[in-house]
C-alpha cells in the first residue's frame, strides 16, 4: 500500500525535507534580523503599506488590558472582523467574526461567540498565550475579508488563501488553501484545510491534499477541485515577489487572499513555510530551487522574475524544468 516511500524515490522527485529546509534554505537565506518583520503581523502590515502591497484594513490594535473595554464598545458597531495575535502562527488564536445576531457574534462556521468570550480571547492574546515562547503580545483587529465568490464556493465557511513560495524573489511554487469544517474557517493545512497545488504558469489547479492525503473533491462542498483556476494570476505572483524586496527574506511563504471587492490582498508572510505544498503540487521543490540558485544573473524587477518563473513552468505543469537534482549543490554565491 501507499504507507511508506523509499528515501531514494523522494530524492528522485526532488522532495525537500524538513531538515534540509532548515539548514540549507531558512538557515542560509533568511537573515534572523528580518524575522520580526514577518513574525509580527503588525510590522508586516506597515511594511506592506510602504511597498505598496495591499493588505486588509487595520481597524484597531489592542495593546493593553485596559483597552479591551474600549474595544468592546467600538466593536459593537462592526459586524465582520478578524482578531489575530500579532505574533501568532499556524492559525493559532485567530478569531474570525463574519456577522452578528443580537448581542452575539457569529463565526463563519455559524457558531456563536459572546462578548465575554471575545474579552477573554483578547486577554489571552495580550498575555502571550499564542505567541512564540509566551512573550506578551498585542491583538490586531482587521477588516473581514470576503472571499471572491469564484473561490469561496470551494471553501467551507472561511476565506481561502493562496500560498506562494518565494525563493530569492522568484515564485517557485503555489497552492490554494481551502477552509473546511475541520479547520474551523481557517485555511491552515495542519488544522485540516485542503491544499490545492497551482500551476505556476497559469494558476490552474493540479492536485489536492487534505491532512497530507490526496483528494479529488472538497470534503464539505463536494465540488471537484480540478476545475479551480485563479484569476489575476500574474498580478498575484508579482505581489508575492515584491515581498522579497520588502523583507529581504530569501526563502519565504507569502499568503494572499482574494477579496471580493478589493482584489488580491497580502494576509501574512512566513519565514518558515511548510513542506505540504510539495504534496499538493505532486512535485518536489528541489529542482525549482536549484534552478533559481543556478541563475547566472538574477532578474531585477518582480515582474521580470515572475515572467521567468512562469516561463519555466509553462511547457507543462511539471517535469520539464526538472534537471533532476544532481548530487549536492556547490555553493553559489548569491
Amino acid at each position: 500500500m501507499m504507507r511508506w516511500i523509499r528515501p531514494r524515490a523522494l530524492q528522485q522527485q526532488g522532495m525537500l525535507s524538513m531538515n534540509q529546509r532548515n539548514i540549507d534554505y531558512i538557515g542560509r537565506y533568511n537573515d534572523r534580523r528580518a524575522y520580526p518583520l514577518v513574525d509580527n503581523k503588525l510590522k508586516t502590515k506597515t511594511l506592506a503599506d510602504t511597498w505598496d502591497v495591499p493588505s486588509p484594513a487595520l481597524l484597531q490594535v489592542v495593546k493593553a488590558q485596559h483597552e479591551i473595554h474600549q474595544f468592546l464598545d467600538y466593536v459593537a458597531a462592526l459586524d465582520g472582523f478578524a482578531i489575530k495575535p500579532a505574533k501568532g502562527s499556524g492559525g493559532k488564536g485567530i478569531l474570525v467574526i463574519a456577522g452578528r445576531e443580537g448581542n452575539d457574534f457569529i463565526k463563519p462556521s455559524g457558531s456563536r461567540v459572546s462578548l465575554i468570550d471575545i474579552e477573554r480571547h483578547l486577554s489571552n492574546i495580550l498575555a502571550g498565550l499564542y505567541s512564540l515562547g509566551g512573550s506578551p503580545d498585542v491583538a490586531i483587529i482587521e477588516a473581514l475579508v470576503r472571499a471572491d465568490p469564484l473561490l469561496s464556493r470551494y471553501s467551507h465557511q472561511g476565506v481561502p488563501d493562496i500560498r506562494v513560495l518565494v525563493f530569492k524573489g522568484y515564485p517557485v511554487m503555489a497552492m490554494l488553501r481551502l477552509a473546511t469544517a475541520a479547520s474551523d474557517g481557517k485555511a491552515n493545512l495542519h488544522q485540516g484545510a485542503v491544499g490545492v497545488g497551482l500551476n505556476l504558469a497559469n494558476g490552474h489547479a493540479l492536485n489536492a491534499v487534505q491532512f497530507d492525503q490526496p483528494i479529488e473533491q472538497h470534503p464539505d462542498t463536494g465540488l471537484p477541485l480540478k476545475d479551480i483556476h485563479i484569476t489575476q494570476w500574474a498580478y498575484l505572483l508579482t505581489m508575492a515577489s515584491r515581498c522579497y524586496e520588502a523583507t529581504g527574506l530569501g526563502y519565504m511563504g507569502v499568503d494572499l487572499v482574494v477579496d471580493a471587492f478589493q482584489g488580491p490582498l497580502l494576509l501574512e508572510l512566513n519565514a518558515r513555510p511548510g513542506l505540504a505544498i510539495q504534496i499538493a503540487n505532486g512535485e518536489g521543490l528541489l529542482p525549482r530551487l536549484n534552478a533559481v540558485e543556478a541563475l547566472p544573473r538574477p532578474h531585477l524587477t518582480p515582474e521580470a522574475r515572475v515572467a521567468w518563473a512562469r516561463e519555466q513552468a509553462a511547457p507543462s505543469a511539471s517535469g520539464v524544468l526538472c534537471s533532476r537534482p544532481s548530487t549536492r549543490r556547490d555553493g553559489v554565491p548569491a
Binding site: I5, N19, D212
Partner: protein
C-alpha cells in the same frame, strides 16, 4: 548569502570526538578506571561538616572519628580547614580529628572527609580489658521505677542480651507503662536504656551511628546501644530492638565522651553528608590519590554534596542526544523541546513506573483543574501561577496517598519540575481546545516516549558509570549532537508523510 565550507567544521567535530576518546583512554590506562561498571566496588564517602561561631579567641576543635567501625574499612581520611592546624590523635583507644588556630572570629566551617569500604566482618572487637558497668545513681521516684522495670524485664529474660531486648520492648511500647513513662520523662530513650542496664550491672554504653543513604545531606548521628556480654560488645537499635549493626549503619563514635568539643566557639554543630561511589577494584587497592593530572580532573575530587548533583547533571547530555536523534532523525513531535529530558531526570529519581503513574495522574488532574480555572476568566500569568500552586498541592496529595499506601516514591515526587508541569498542562489544554484531543495525544505521547527512552538510557548503569568516571566522553556526545545538527536527509516520519508522492513518481 552566508555560505561556508563544511570541511573545517567536520574536522573540528572529528577532533572533538578524538579528544574525548583519547582522554578517556588515557584515564583508563593511567588510573585503571574500567570501561564497564561491573568491576566496581561501592565506597561510601562521608563528609562531616563542623560549624560554629568563633569568639575571637584561640580555637580548638576536637571531633571524634570512626575507629575500626564494624562492617567498614577506612580507606582515606582527609580534613579541609583553611588556616587551621590539623592533627589526627589517638587516645585511650579513641580517635580524634583535632583543629587548632591562634585566633578566629565569626562563622567557621571545618570538613572532615573519609572514604569507607563496606566489608562484612571487617572489624572485630578489640578489648584490652573487660569493661565494667558504670555506677548509676538514681533519685526517687526514678529509682523505684527502674527497679520495677528491671524486675519485670529480668523475669522475661535469660541473659544480658535478652534483658536488653526486654527493656527495649518495654520502653518502646506505643503506651509505655507508668514506670517507663516516668523514666522517659527524665531522659531520652537510649540514655534511659543505658542507665537501666548499667544499673542492672551490665556494662552498657551509647554509641553514635550514621545511617548511610546515597546522596543525603545534613544528616545527624543517631544513638545506638551497646552492651557487653562478657566477650563482645553487642549492638542494639534502641528504637526497634534490632540486634547487631545494620549494613547501612556506620558507627561513627564507639567511645565515651562527646562527638564534638569546641573550645573558643559557640553554637557548634556537626552534620554529615554522604555519597555512594563506585570505585574500580584496582583503585580501591591503591586507595590514596596519586598526584597525576588525570586524578586532578576526576570529579571524585569535588565535595560530596556537589558530586551528587553532578552525577545527575552529567546524565543530561545523554537526554539531549536522545531528543536530537528522535526529533532530527525520527521526527517525533514533542510538547516543548526539552521538557521530555526534565521529565526523564525526574524519572531517574522516582524510577520509571511510579514516576510514570505519578506524572500521568498529575497531568490528568491538572487538566481537570485547569478546565475549571479557564471558566474563571483569569489573566494568563495568574492562571499559570495558580496552576503551579495547584500542581504543588496535587504533588503533596499524591505523595501523602503514596506514603500511606506504603510507597516511598512520595518523597521523590518533588523532583518533578513544578513550573514545567504547570506549563505543560496549560499548553496541553490549549492544544486540546484548538486542535482537538488527537494532537494532544500525539504530542503528549511523543513527549512521553522521548522521556522514557531518555530515561532508559540515562538510568543504564553504563551511562552513569561512563558519564561520571569519564566526563571527557561528553565531548563525543557534543560532537554527535553537532553532527546531527548538520543532517539534511529525510526524517523517518517524512518517509511516511510523503508516501502520497508515490503516485506522482515516474
Amino acid at each position: 548569502m552566508r555560505q561556508y565550507s563544511r570541511t573545517p567544521f567536520r574536522i573540528g567535530i572529528g577532533l572533538l570526538i578524538l579528544a574525548g576518546v583519547s582522554l578517556a583512554t588515557i584515564r583508563h590506562l593511567e588510573l585503571g578506571v574500567p570501561w564497564w561498571p561491573g568491576e566496581q566496588r561501592p565506597v561510601w564517602r562521608v563528609e562531616a561538616r563542623v560549624d560554629f561561631q568563633a569568639s575571637g579567641e584561640p580555637v580548638s576543635v576536637r571531633l571524634n572519628i570512626p575507629d575500626q567501625p564494624p562492617g567498614f574499612r577506612i580507606l582515606t581520611e582527609q580534613a579541609t580547614s583553611p588556616g587551621y592546624g590539623f592533627t589526627l590523635q589517638e587516645q585511650q583507644g579513641e580517635r580524634f580529628a583535632q583543629w587548632d588556630i591562634r585566633q578566629a572570629e565569626g562563622p567557621q566551617t571545618l570538613f572532615f572527609k573519609t572514604r569507607l569500604l563496606p566489608e562484612p566482618q571487617a572489624a572485630q572487637d578489640r578489648e584490652s580489658e573487660l569493661p565494667t558497668a558504670s555506677q548509676v545513681f538514681l533519685e526517687e521516684p526514678s529509682a523505684t521505677a527502674a527497679r520495677a522495670l528491671l524486675t519485670q524485664a529480668q523475669a522475661q529474660s535469660s541473659g544480658p542480651a535478652s534483658l536488653a531486648r526486654a527493656l527495649i520492648r518495654q520502653l518502646t511500647r506505643a503506651t509505655p507503662d507508668q514506670n517507663a513513662q516516668l523514666l522517659l520523662d527524665h531522659a531520652a530513650l537510649a540514655e534511659t536504656l543505658a542507665q537501666l542496664l548499667n544499673h542492672a550491672g551490665i556494662p552498657a554504653r551509647l554509641v553514635d551511628g550514621l545511617v548511610l543513604e546515597d546522596a543525603r545531606r545534613q544528616q545527624r548521628l543517631l544513638p545506638w546501644l551497646q552492651i557487653h556480654d562478657g566477650n563482645h560488645w553487642i549492638t542494639f537499635n534502641p528504637r526497634t530492638g534490632e540486634q547487631g549493626v545494620p549494613e547501612q549503619v556506620l558507627l561513627w563514635r564507639q567511645a565515651r565522651g562527646p562527638v564534638l568539643e569546641v573550645v573558643g566557639g559557640q553554637d557548634s554543630q556537626v552534620r554529615f553528608s554522604m555519597l555512594r561511589q563506585t570505585l574500580p577494584a584496582t583503585q580501591v587497592g591503591q586507595a590514596t590519590a596519586t598526584g597525576s593530572v588525570m586524578t586532578a580532573l576526576s570529579l571524585y575530587q569535588l565535595p560530596v554534596e556537589q558530586q551528587g548533583m553532578f552525577r545527575l547533571l552529567l546524565l543530561m547530555p545523554f537526554g539531549a542526544l536522545v531528543v536530537c536523534v528522535l526529533r532530527i532523525l525520527i521526527g517525533i513531535r514533542t510538547a516543548g523541546t526539552f521538557m521530555p529530558v526534565l521529565i526523564a531526570v525526574a524519572f531517574v529519581q522516582t524510577s520509571l513506573l511510579p514516576g510514570l503513574a505519578a506524572f500521568l495522574s498529575l497531568i490528568t488532574l491538572g487538566l481537570l483543574l485547569r478546565g475549571y480555572l479557564s471558566s474563571l476568566n483569569l489573566l494568563l500569568v495568574s492562571r499559570i501561577s495558580a496552576m503551579i500552586v495547584l500542581v504543588l498541592f496535587l504533588t503533596a496529595a499524591l505523595s501523602l496517598i503514596g506514603y500511606h499506601m506504603g510507597f516511598s516514591t512520595g518523597m521523590t515526587l518533588t523532583f518533578f519540575p513544578m513550573v514545567i508541569l504547570a506549563w505543560t498542562i496549560e499548553r496541553m489544554s490549549i492544544l486540546w481546545d484548538e486542535e482537538g484531543p488527537h494532537e494532544v495525544f500525539i504530542q503528549g505521547g511523543g513527549s512521553l516516549l522521548v522521556a522514557i527512552l531518555a530515561y532508559l538510557i540515562m538510568s543504564a548503569p553504563l551511562a552513569e558509570h561512563l558519564s561520571f568516571n569519564f566526563p571527557e566522553l561528553h565531548l563525543v556526545v557534543l560532537g554527535l549532537i553537532l553532527l546531527l545538527g548538520q543532517y539534511t536527509g529525510y526524517k523517518l516520519t517524512e518517509l511516511r508523510r510523503f508516501a502520497p508522492m508515490r503516485r506522482y513518481s515516474t
